[in-house]
């Protein structure tokens, strides 16, 4: 069920409930923090470009965490960067969401054993909503991840705790 519960046929009035309206607004304009880390960032940029067109889902890159709703962790999270990511995440206003993109930020990827400098999964410092597997994931996979996140937001409730 979408935002429309009932529609009056001869006027511009629709009736819906609060949650549906808020969730629809949130999931349709997920402004993204412009933040790229490694090779995954190249795929993320390809997703933003005209061929895959992230913008059609309302994903627009913003240059400050104050204006962003989601952060896509696109690449290898080093220990040095992990502290910065945590700070950026804390600066994003609620409600905020996180997509972990690619093997590195999911679990350390190829650096899992000998990467003295790599955090083995970004979920050790910030809570992740959607994990996108791949090394790096194709733009289609990132779009799928975004659709999954939209699905998650669609089922949120302002009264009941979901996560």
């Amino acid at each position: 069920m979408g935002i429309l519960d009932k529609e009056f046929s001869d006027s511009n009035i629709i009736i819906t409930n609060f949650d549906n309206l808020m969730n629809w607004a949130r999931l349709s304009s997920l402004w993204q923090l412009g933040f790229g880390l490694a090779c995954c960032a190249i795929e993320m940029m390809a997703t933003s470009a005209s061929h895959y067109d992230f913008d059609r889902f309302g994903v627009i890159p913003r240059n400050t965490p104050r204006q962003a709703d989601i952060i896509i962790i696109s690449g290898t999270v080093t220990l040095k960067m992990a502290l910065r990511i945590k700070r950026l995440y804390e600066q994003i206003a609620d409600p905020k969401y996180i997509i972990s993109m690619g093997s590195c930020s999911n679990c350390g990827g190829p650096y899992w054993e000998h990467g003295y400098h790599v955090l083995k999964g970004v979920d050790r410092v910030i809570p992740v909503d959607v994990y996108v597997p791949g090394c790096p994931p194709r733009p289609e996979a990132l779009l799928e991840g975004l659709l999954k996140l939209q699905e998650k937001i669609r089922n949120e409730s302002s009264v009941k705790k979901t996560a």
Binding site: L79, Y116, K120, V125
Partner: protein, 177 residues
């Protein structure tokens, strides 16, 4: 254009016992081993001499030679200690179109090599990286601080040494998988 043999002879005539050995029968580029306490003088000569004119330091690398000495105590338990670290300088002369590799070997216990930053500015960050990763200290370097690892990284911890052990935590974040 000079061969590595000729370059070795020129250096030997100039610096005598500071120039230790020329290694030629190896599958990689031939290299000359020098003592670590005179690299600056040697570098200055390599750069300024009209026969050599090494105006380009292509790369400077710090290496753990992985050659610790095995010692057994009375109960028969083996322990590893000592060994050496090396600095490799890959040099190229643009006007004369010849190359040479210089290697300075230093003790792992107190690794000390003279800085060549005053000769080739390129060496500045390369030496900082060698310090960062394998812990070689460069004498007379203008700013020998960590370059890639965070500044608050454990002072005596150098991750590209062969005997490096991962710490459990860094700033509250668990490091092992």
């Amino acid at each position: 254009m000079k061969s590595s043999k000729e370059i070795f002879e020129i250096l030997k005539a100039e610096f005598g016992d500071k120039i230790l050995e020329l290694k030629e029968d190896i599958p990689v580029d031939p290299y000359i081993i020098v003592t670590p306490d005179s690299t600056e003088k040697i570098a200055r000569f390599l750069h300024d001499s009209s026969d050599l004119q090494f105006d380009s330091l292509m790369v400077l690398s710090g290496v753990d030679d992985n050659n610790p000495v095995k010692t057994k105590d009375e109960e028969g338990t083996e322990s590893l200690s000592g060994g050496t670290l090396s600095v490799y300088y890959h040099l190229y002369s643009i006007p004369l179109n010849h190359k040479i590799v210089i290697r300075a070997v230093t003790e792992k216990e107190n690794p000390m090599v003279q800085s060549v930053e005053s000769v080739w500015k390129t060496a500045d960050w390369h030496e900082r990286e060698a310090f960062d990763m394998v812990g070689i200290r460069f004498e007379n370097h203008p700013d020998l601080t960590r370059i890639l690892l965070p500044y608050d990284w454990d002072e005596s911890s150098f991750p590209l040494r062969k005997d490096y052990k991962n710490p459990e935590f860094y700033q509250g974040m668990k490091i092992p998988y």
